[in-house]
Symmetry: C2
């Protein structure tokens, strides 16, 4: 089926969430990578628990909560300044190098594009600005508007609403396989940008397509686009 | 507030979910512990994603799915026989040594007791029977009845319904901190059996009490019981 628009996940997909690991390593020598990994895991875990129990707190809050847990688990003392620096790094995450060129290609072809992210509007805006991507997007959608994180259907609904078309006409792009499974269940045309070469999640659902880079994603989108 | 009954989580709380690690180690030398840990993580992750998206599949299914993912991630080949043996071990998980004596103490004092578990009825029954605990319980409650896993409110509701009293009159016992947070949000009187000495989850909610062993839990329950 032809696609009319693209919705991108932000964290992990356009923005490298593990780029904060270098700063964590500087603060906690030998433990930076494992702290950064647990930080990310807890952040995601907290979004799910809060959504299941209808106890929403925004992504800035759960990101800080995940950091605090990861530091306590690893028995490191996180000073106020270190916490501010790590949270600040999360606001200006490194974007993947290829993003700008590939999104510019899509923009030039007239493909409407959105971000659909768990992040707050402020977090997404500052990260996109730091990455120079903000002018390429037609919509910046934060789940903060609906008070439920992905993979809740209410979060995915925002994409169809913004573009005014059915989810099946929107290509949903994420490097997070769980996000792709949720989006596929919801009804999106999905492509899993499997940057890390991970196994597919065993959830009984498959993405429509797979890609190893945003270049592959853009090729796929341009071949399927009917503007 | 006095308590009228106790609801226990099963996996991790009465049954040692990492006891399958020894068999995994036998099959995959050097990788047993990490495979068992990822198996458990993925099992739990899948319960949440399926619940958020209303795509329930029972705990036997997600347990097998988690095992398959963990093996593929660790690049080990899982034969049909090995899979059957590991899944079989999950049906007869080792119970913690102290369980029988402490639950017998509670039973003798007339405290009504239930299991409230993500497991299927068949999985819980076989594990409780192997552990010799089945005669001590008044109710065995599986979320399979409601088609949503904990921490969904519908799952916690089963405990109040079974005992016919308010959640605040029931002591909810779990070694899984996320389960304790969900149960506290729901309204249970909660005690976190922190067997592993882990940090508390940063979810903005605290259990009413903490314990290091089931002996502590029984002491606490008997001091608060009004039969």
């Amino acid at each position: 089926m032809p696609i009319k628009a693209i919705a991108f996940d932000a964290y992990g997909t356009l923005l490298d969430v593990y780029s904060v690991g270098a700063l964590a390593e500087e603060f906690f020598p030998g433990k930076g990578a494992t702290i950064a990994a647990m930080w990310r895991d807890k952040q995601i875990e907290y979004t799910r628990l809060r959504t299941m129990c209808d106890r929403y707190a925004d992504f800035w809050q759960v990101t800080g909560d995940g950091l605090d847990y990861a530091c306590e688990f690893h028995k490191v003392v996180l000073t106020v300044d270190q916490r501010a620096a790590l949270m600040g790094a999360y606001e200006t995450l490194t974007a993947f190098d290829e993003n700008h060129a590939q999104m510019t290609r899509l923009k030039a072809a007239g493909v409407p594009m959105a971000i659909l992210s768990n992040g707050t509007r402020a977090m997404i805006d500052s990260a996109l600005q730091a990455a120079g991507l903000e002018d390429l997007l037609d919509h910046v959608l934060s789940v903060d508007t609906v008070g439920k994180f992905k993979t809740a259907p209410e979060a995915y609904q925002m994409g169809s609403d913004a573009f005014g078309c059915d989810a099946s006409e929107i290509l949903f792009v994420s490097s997070n396989c769980w996000d792709i499974c949720g989006a596929t269940w919801f009804g999106y045309h999905t492509i899993w940008l499997n940057r890390a070469g991970l196994p597919i999640e065993r959830l009984g659902v498959e993405p429509m397509a797979r890609a190893a880079s945003l270049h592959d994603v853009a090729d796929y989108a341009l071949a399927s686009f009917s503007g």
